[in-house]
Symmetry: C2
Subunit: 426 residues, 2 copies
């Protein structure tokens, strides 16, 4: 009886494991390959704009082009990440197969002409649309379609940042605020690992970040404690700021969208004037640092995510400028994700706060990097793991403190309107 | 309006944060201090038995003493960790204040005479009973009592192993299988950090483990991939074994308990014959390695958790012997936790499997260490974090694969009968 019990339950689980391993191979390979193509095109577009800076002046026209591409070819694709989440909560018309290709092309266009946006939205939508397509081909059941969509999110996210575990946790965490369910974790892990492997196999590199802060033993009560209490207080204060900035970011995207909608009856004028706003903003800042992705430096001394890890690598209000540039770009219909700009906002804000509070700069840049993202997407656990996968495990306790504090201070909105509230924050 | 919105919500959250920070200070200090005392007494008892090995012959009498201590002073204390979980799910008579002291004394007695048991159960019960006591003094509301009990679990667990983040995640994860809710995470984090700080401040050290495996670049497809696929397959196969052993452990504790109950009408005969069984087992093995905690070596070349991280540091069936020793000890009424023996079983099984599969021994010992525990307690996320806190973040992906695979293969029972099923595994 004892052995029989083990057998029947375990064979079921083994079958489940093998089934999802088999399904993950095409899902991971296809999504990984498309993400690799996307990353390569994106980098090419970014460096092409660096050598042809006048392209920025065509941003308004690029916006109009994106508008019409979606109008004629997009169907429900325009809803992006939210549509994928809606399909996971309540299957409807499905994710249209063209979503992935459209968002790939329009994100590259956005970046080619200098729009401030990210990558993860694009990768997640590539993941969702490929997963839906494969689910149809394999004639999966409704519950399996849901799981495969989550695996698609995991593979897209894991592949685009080179963080497979974060991708898998993000996929199960982002669906609903305040709780996590494990039922889809194995398919998500398989798919994101294979997706990440595929990007690697295509030879696409990821950015490496480095925390150069090494805790010394000369802090308050160092003889008795192995952590610096004062540093933890500074981290909590900074993380409250990270959470508030997440809130401002999420709210601003909606508000800018609504303001532009109320201003312009003719829809294509919205991205047109959005593009003009970005041009004017660039003139008023006097430098192109807040355009596009913010990972690569257009010139020596440009403010990037990487520079924010060093003293003097960010201006006091870099985080604010990047918030404005990105919310205008995304609020007026340009394409791309929110996450890389959130990394930028967090890292530069971390830099600024560390300078004010006399705290280690690279550590605070790293904390801002993950915590602003955690607050804006309500995914504190995925972001804690992202800290470990990108920066190493030594400061995992600080990562968790930062992400959960920011999460509590970012309100219930977040950047994904289709995210459900599982357990309210208070 | 915008600013007002931020204000009212944020002030609520700030009040919440400050309130729980204030509550965490006495909780963390008291629990941390009592755990420090417990760890000190435990180590003293273990080394005293090393120099007086004949103490083992008094184990049956020690068992009878423990039985009567609980009979006359325990009230509902006997239910241990399960009672604390029940009180969190559905407040009842409360956790009796004497639970912490009783379990501390009886665990030290168990180890002094060579019973094979752990520490976390004791620490969690110390945490739960102190939290309940403080909740009463502070006249907290029912919902706050629940949160404080979880914070007590977090502080006890975080303090006993020196892993504050794992303690906090464990407390919110262990309550229900298959899902996680974030509402109590901040109080749990505060309490476990302060608890860990307190143990440190008392100068109590924790064991350090080290994975000496460094991945080289000579694996299959190394030119294209940054992880070794073959190694990941070996990890999945080993983790299935880790999960099955968790299942066997959890089931054996119940079965041995039931067998002894059916054999002996007179209750105190159960621990008496349990003690005799342990003595006979020690004779049949011919060495004392599977007695007590398994962390410190009684003699050079003894099999311990630490030795399992090195080639030749475990016998082929060490994991099975430790399973039998521990399930007999705990199933016949001795006191202590299950987790350190689970670490032992996992690390030695990892050692054995790595030898058979030609895999890195220290890595597999570490994976077994966390994965058998993950399977037996159904807390894969806490165990993944434990891997990061104890062994570093480099292999976090492997930790997650191992813990979640073991979790899925360990069945729905687990060692805590009061754990509820949040989301079934299949």
């Amino acid at each position: 009886m004892f052995l029989k019990n083990i057998k029947s339950e375990r064979i079921q689980i083994l079958t489940y494991l093998l089934k999802w391993f088999a399904l993950s191979i095409p899902v991971g390979l296809l999504i990984g390959s498309m993400v690799a193509l996307f990353l390569w095109l994106l980098t090419t577009a970014i460096f092409f704009r660096f050598s042809h800076p006048y392209l920025l002046y065509f941003l308004p026209l690029a916006g109009v082009a994106i508008h019409f591409i979606y109008k004629f070819l997009g169907k429900s694709s325009e809803k992006g990440n939210n549509l994928i989440m809606d399909e996971i909560h309540q299957p409807g018309g499905g994710v249209p197969p063209q979503m992935g290709v459209l968002v790939l092309i329009t994100t590259v266009i956005t970046h080619l002409f200098g729009g401030s946006a990210g990558r993860e939205g694009t990768a997640v939508q590539i993941g969702g649309s490929i997963a839906q397509l494969l689910a149809k081909w394999f004639k999966l059941s409704a519950i399996d379609v849901k799981t495969l969509l989550m695996a698609g999110i995991a593979a897209g996210f894991g592949a685009v940042f080179g963080t497979p575990l974060t991708g898998a946790i993000f996929a199960i965490e982002v669906i609903a605020l305040g709780r996590l369910k494990y039922d889809a974790i194995i398919p998500c892990l398989f798919a994101s690992i294979i997706g990440d492997f595929t990007v690697n196999a295509w030879g696409i590199p990821h950015t490496h970040y480095h925390i150069d802060f090494v805790e010394t033993k000369d802090f308050f009560l160092a003889a008795y404690l192995h952590w610096d209490i004062l540093l933890i207080f500074k981290i909590i204060i900074a993380s409250v700021a990270f959470g508030l900035v997440s809130y401002v970011f999420a709210t601003l995207v909606y508000r800018i969208k609504n303001i532009f909608i109320s201003l312009f009856k003719i829809k294509w004028l919205i991205p047109f004037f959005g593009g003009i706003a970005i041009i004017l903003l660039t003139f008023s800042v006097g430098k192109p640092d807040y355009l596009s992705l913010g990972v690569n430096a257009e010139y020596d001394g440009a403010i990037t995510i990487t520079s924010a890890f060093k003293a003097g690598g960010a201006d006091t209000f870099s985080w604010l400028w990047k918030t404005i540039f990105t919310t205008v770009t995304l609020g007026t219909g340009f394409k791309g994700g929110e996450v890389t700009p959130l990394f930028y906002i967090g890292a530069t804000l971390g830099n600024t706060l560390a300078t004010f509070m006399d705290a280690p700069i690279s550590l605070f840049a790293a904390l801002g990097f993950i915590a602003v993202f955690a607050g804006a997407t309500n995914t504190p656990l995925a972001c804690t793991f992202m800290g470990v996968e990108l920066f190493g495990g030594q400061y995992v306790l600080f990562f968790a403190i930062a992400c959960f504090t920011a999460y509590f201070f970012s309100g219930h909105s977040g950047i994904y309107s289709s995210q459900r509230i599982g357990v309210p924050k208070l």
